[in-house]
Symmetry: C2
Subunit: 554 residues, 2 copies
């Protein structure tokens, strides 16, 4: 055996899972492997059952998560050429809130033959937005009753979270609800599959499960929502909580057989993809905001003190590193918006030209747009195609674009959409600053940092340097760092983060001339943000849509 | 010689000219031919000179208009097999305001070798929108001075019209302005080429040339705009006015040689494409609104009395039929908007599927959209990609779309754009109704009536039957009717219109269920119309754009 030791981080994203094999001594990424989920996101039909899903549904199949372990871990072991016996720990991170109904032994209800045709038996992916009305009721009731916990979530819990999704389940499919013995986050379920032990990580419990100061919402509160829901917490939620970086247990023989890893190595407490990325970016000190920019953006930051930041997703003690307040905010659509536009709204001639130029459509549009002076497209957009997570916490908002003329080209709209997401990021930063939790550094992580075009626009609009995590796999590296801590290689996350994390400071610097133009456009963005953020028009359009679809039997 | 007599109508559109050979007795269209302009619309570069045009410019080359005569008229004569000696008259109609600078003998300045490289020497097409600031000054001054004529134009003259474009010429290229001996509408210029006589038709003079009650704007008014502009009217504009349906003169030998028509046959007073279409639709009685729906829409209607309709384009005595008030309103982008979207914003997979289905993209999108229940796209748009002609008369407005989600597909946006133009039409009708000039019948004409999808949406949104001109060539047929009157075959336009016009009543009937949904969407359209119609955001976005472009030297 060599003296080097290794850990594995597995990052479960929206469409795929990625394993990263990392050297413990310095965080060097030795090998990585990706596995696309066979069922991807089910948002129109339930797999191949032919069953149509409702508007705003988004499900996944938990089988796909196991397949990630079975394929990617053997692949990184093989690619790296290391001795598997040198791997000392594994940690995972997940999208969230991505809960599923399971039996007491962890079997997902969707695995049971009698429930395979029941949409509510499946994993509800973070971007399942069909529980909006349930979230609204939870919020209204929380304010009406003066529940203290609502302040920890910027005054609003999201339709994406555990309680809204569970209430939807309870009210729409009582049989599945009754059969649910455990309402478990996929982040904890996968750890359960690896270690044989069910431990709820403080991060998803706190940010997505309304667990604050050792308590969940009261039985009285739940009963007031719906008497059938009164015992939800005690019957399906309450379980032992684990702190981040802790060891849950050893890898089971079954999981060792799936992966080729040694039985008994440390399995760390689960985590959320965004929060774990802070460790990969050496961003465990107060004021270091990490933006994990992928299909959506999640902003996480450690803060010294507890503060009510309007529209933040949540603040949880120990939510990023034990013993400190961890803040979370986010944008529910970023890369998803760019992908949506590029896949659906870019004409054939562009595809041909991009192919000739040897570029994918994103980079081709970026290359065209980067020749245009800032502001010359005459557009401003609201980046709410997937709702607004922060600072409005409203998933029934929608996208807007203004300034279109017959001269407007696809690259113009593409740029305006990128800018809109950067304006959204600026709105979040300003809100933190104004709430006494100042943002000192902005550190970008995630898939979008590969786009120089996107990053430069962020620098120009945020008017500050953009630091980036040098690792292209921030969450996976973050998980690997947690695995190293769980395995005892480092005393705590902060120390491991300094040794193993990767940060490139000042990767993109703002261009002052562009920033001036963007200040003017941001004023319009802000005006539209206020005007449409009240939801008056957008909620009504959604209601008209939903009504039309339901009348048509969709 | 047979006893049948024929006339020819030539309709000059935005991209092509069309000749229609028509039987005098009943208006039967015997043959038609189209010629695409070689230079199309010059809106980026001046032909092949490499000279870049400014933002919002749109020029044409008058040579293309002569080529329409030389190609299409021989073609219709040949196709029809009739004896050319049986053709008794010709009339033409044109887009407007489409003016050009010419010498006293009618030679366009762009034909002079020393001016071929000068953008201002060319025809300024109706949709040349670079004279917005000039139009604004004209309007402000007119109101400041209390000019009576401004009321005849809904309180605003347009940047598309003769005076705004001429003021732009005067201030941007004084040499060309000084060389201009006649500032002539293409509608009159083409008649001049056919007959050898320059007669200004009352229709363009009235609607586009601020000719009211026998007068143009005063010398004092012009001098107050710019002292250099003081003598514009007396030096370059004033000329004999001709009433619609009158004979200007006989076809010249030169024009007979171009066309193969008999020398000396009646050449009618020129006309605007929209206004002449009223005759083709048997719509010469009060309250019969004809919408000529093509790249843009022009609404024309005869009214009993003179009334101030907010945002109408104009009211002119004798502007549609002699002796009656002719009203005009319009939408500056309709088919142009659909074409812009389809050409630029529809992905390659759609093109492939459309090709497989044997449909063009418009019809393919329409077929997809027509499967969706009304309102199910959740979108509402403002149809201002080419500005708003009525009721806001503001070409610096721009398009907006709201309600976008990651589920939004190209067919959704396409439908929303079609609906937006129909909402715009509804706004115009309501404004006429509220101004004491009620709209009794809505008659659609022009290229868009071929789309059942578009027409049904209009019926549902306007909540009234859509009658259509059965002729696919409304303006060309209207011109042929005017030619018959000019040739003396009928005593007046009304009589000729009843004999030769083509109208299919109740071609599309509203669907009440859809109308209810559209009422709800129209409320949002109206709210956005008010909110963004003040131009605050859109004007600023345009200023940011123009500033960015000018700083970059574009």
């Amino acid at each position: 055996m060599s003296s080097e030791r290794y850990v594995i981080g597995v990052d479960y994203g929206t469409l795929s899972g990625r394993a990263l094999l990392v050297r413990v001594s310095d965080g060097f990424a030795v090998a990585s492997a990706v596995h696309e989920y066979e069922h991807a996101v089910m948002d129109e039909y339930l797999g191949d059952t032919g069953i149509k899903l409702g508007a705003d549904w988004a499900l996944q199949d938990a089988k796909d998560y196991i397949n990630v372990l079975k394929t990617t871990i053997p692949e990184v072991l093989s690619k790296s050429g290391i001795n598997p016996a040198d791997v000392i720990g594994i940690a995972t991170d997940f999208t969230a809130s991505t809960p599923l109904p399971a039996l007491q032994d962890g079997t997902p209800l969707s695995f049971l033959p009698q429930f395979t045709n029941r949409p509510h038996a499946y994993v509800k992916l973070w971007k399942h937005h069909a529980a909006s009305s349930h979230a609204n009721r939870i919020n209204e009731l929380a304010h009406a009753r003066g529940e203290e916990w609502i302040k920890r979530y910027g005054g609003k819990i999201s339709s994406e979270w555990q309680f809204a999704k569970a209430l939807q389940l309870c009210e729409e499919d009582k049989e599945i609800y009754d059969a649910t013995q455990v309402w478990v986050e996929a982040a904890d379920w996968i750890v359960w599959q690896l270690s044989g032990k069910y431990i709820k990580n403080i991060c998803t419990a706190g940010y997505k499960g309304i667990y604050q100061d050792g308590h969940y919402p009261s039985k009285e509160f739940l009963a007031a929502l719906n008497p059938e829901f009164a015992h939800f917490v005690e019957n399906k939620v309450v379980h032992k909580i684990g702190q981040l970086g802790n060891r849950v247990g050893g890898l089971t023989a079954e999981a060792a057989a799936w992966t080729g890893l040694p039985e008994g190595i440390a399995v760390a407490v689960g985590n959320v993809d965004a929060h774990v990325a802070a460790a990969s970016a050496q961003a465990t000190a107060p004021g270091q905001m990490v933006a994990i920019m992928g299909t959506s953006t999640c902003n996480v930051m450690v803060g010294e003190k507890l503060s009510d930041v309007p529209g933040m997703c949540g603040v949880v003690e120990g939510g990023i590193v034990p013993g400190k307040w961890g803040y979370e905010a986010g944008q529910s659509g970023v890369g998803d918006i760019f992908g949506w536009f590029v896949n659906r709204f870019v004409g054939e001639s562009y595809l041909r030209a991009a192919t000739e130029a040897g570029l994918d459509l994103h980079n081709y549009l970026a290359s065209l747009a980067s020749h245009n002076p800032t502001g010359s497209h005459g557009l401003v957009a609201l980046d709410w195609e997937n709702g607004n997570r922060s600072t409005l916490v409203d998933h029934e908002l929608s996208g807007l674009i203004v300034g279109l003329t017959l001269a407007t080209k696809p690259e113009d709209v593409y740029q305006a959409l990128v800018e809109a997401t950067a304006f959204g990021a600026r709105k979040i930063i300003e809100t933190f600053d104004e709430s006494g939790v100042p943002v000192v550094d902005f550190i970008a992580s995630g898939g979008l940092i590969k786009s120089r075009f996107v990053m430069q626009i962020y620098a120009d609009i945020l008017k500050r340097p953009i630091h980036i995590t040098e690792s292209e796999q921030g969450p996976a590296l973050g998980s690997a760092i947690h695995a190293a801590v769980a395995a005892g290689a480092y005393p705590d996350i902060q120390t491991a983060s300094q040794a193993m994390g990767k940060l490139k400071r000042n990767a993109f610097m703002p261009n002052e001339k562009n920033s001036q133009v963007y200040d003017a456009l941001y004023e319009h963005y802000s005006a539209l943000y206020r005007e449409f953020g009240n939801g008056k028009i957008m909620h009504s359009l959604r209601a008209i849509r939903n009504n039309a679809l339901s009348q048509a039997g969709n």
